[in-house]
């Protein structure tokens, strides 16, 4: 699946497009297929997101898993400070 991510303009927080708005939780992301470009353009113009882009991910039994480790770390938090993660189940193994 193709999902959209970016950073909230004001807070810088990692955000994921849920089809209608931006969520802090990767599991809220929706598959955008080929529709991403229009959403990114509109949302950046509205200053609701900064530097949005499309990434590859897959739906697993545990939730949405971004394909690249960098995006998994963005989704779950620094592997060395998972106490700061928004996902209470996050572990280094889950990120890796």
């Amino acid at each position: 699946m193709k999902i959209i991510t970016g950073n909230d303009l004001k807070s810088g927080a990692v955000t994921w497009w849920n089809g209608a708005a931006w969520s802090l939780h990767v599991n809220d992301a929706v598959d955008m297929g080929d529709e991403a470009a229009a959403v990114i353009a509109a949302e950046e113009a509205a200053r609701r997101v900064n530097g949005a882009y499309v990434i590859e991910a897959e739906q697993t039994a545990d939730g949405i898993r971004p394909a690249h480790i960098k995006e998994r770390i963005r989704a779950l938090g620094p592997t060395v400070r998972l106490d700061l993660s928004l996902d209470p189940t996050a572990t280094p193994d889950k990120v890796l």
Binding site: N7, L9, K10, S11, G12, A13, G51, T79, V80, L84
Partner: protein, 551 residues
Amino acid sequence: MYLYDHYDQAMVDARVAEFRDQTRRRIEGTLSEEKFRPLRLQNGLYLQLHAYMLRVAVPYGTLSGAQMKMLGDIADKYDRGYGHFTTRQNIQYNWIKLEDTPDILADLASVEMHAIQTSGNCIRNISADQYAGATADELIDPRPYAELLRQWSSFHPEFLALPRKFKICVIASDTDRAAMRLHDIGIQIVKNEAGEIGAAFYVGGGMGRTPFIAPLVKAFVPLDELITYSEACLRVYNRYGRRDNKYKARIKILVHELGVDEYRRQVEEEFAHLQTLAIEPPLAELERIKTFFADPAYEAGLSDDLDLSNPAFAAWVKNNTAAHKTPGYAIVNISLKPVKTLADGSKQAGIPGDATGEQIRVMADLAKTYSFDELRVTHTQNIVLPHVRKADLFTVWEKLVAAELAEANLDKITDIIACPGLDYCTLANARSIPVAQKIAERMADKAEEIGELKLKISGCINACGHHHAGHIGILGVDRKGLENYQLLLGGCEGADTSLGKIVGPGFDEDGIVGAVEKATQVYLANKEGEERFLDTYRRIGMNPFKEAIYG
């Protein structure tokens, strides 16, 4: 230490007001990100993996207690309770909000601090020896010259759009504690045969994807021509540095491609021209600056005796204190590389360079009470209290123990430099911090036996973790989407600067920990006398290590 005059304060305050307006316009939508990005970067505000990251300048690594306290307060008020001290003697905050940043900059300005020129293609924060003004082995205190260079380079209109970033380091000791020859310009204050004090200029060093040790360009520049010669070095670079390829844009590439002789010739030509323009600041300004760096009011006649009957205190004194130029005083190093022993006997290493807001305030209080209100940030991501009475060492140590800041491991294998790596940094290809923690945990019980071993880890080729200069260096790379770690041996950042060489094929995270352990075993089996790891490596060469690691 240097105190702002009204010009300094006005410049910083004006910049805060300017950035507040720019931020407002960005949030309101009258400034696009394309236009805003260079403006925020000029104020040290990056967008990293998890949030905005703010890098705060600590000029030549020197701080007052009040400044340090402010850094701790910012960690708690605006970030998530901690900050990260960097290899550039600065501090970074990882979880900053854009909308808070003008207020943070205003708080910093209230204690004569800022984040200006901590990013972008300009002259960055000037770095220096962390023992400056305290150690007996320096010629003079180099910080007045670093401060003069700071003033010259701040908002220098000609050098705000260089081909690439530019880093200057100033030392005044043959014992190079600041990696001087791995800077774009490394300046060593020296004495010539006539007994005059001047500056030796090393130009074109650096790490990154193409590491070079800076060659000597001029052995002696009179101190009243320091700025003029620096300007000449920069002008030649600004004119001919590569702007077509960012990977070849640093001055090291220009010096290498021109050859040091031709670069020197061009600098001399420019220098002669600049001398006719009388751009050097008046010596009276240098003398004014020097007054801020006068020795504090040391007590005379203090004893050097110490009660070392407490073994943990004795170990800390042995490893983490250094000789001070004044009898009865010591230089204290506070390690930000803790390794805890848990109840079950296992080890738990901290994050290199990280300190909580409370720990930062503890260090600020210690500086105020016991070190003439002064601290230093080191490029090895530790903190220094430069002037502590030996009679106070035990009390200082007890307070550090209570704050979990008393790890006695300076320059040991557990005192690891590690960049933020893929856990925080958008540029990184692999994580650095977990590798540092695993190595520290594996090697903690052997650290004392191994002795001095400087291990440095970078999570990408940009080398913020100084892997080229590690006795053992580790470079994290991306291999088909997986983290992979290359091992280097033989680097050194000191007076005998050398660049590490790659041992062989890379490893996964656990593999690199095992490879490091094997390298230390080769050292221990082959060391002669008082040899350090680096000495043994230089004597026996790469092959015994390679055979043990890959055999």
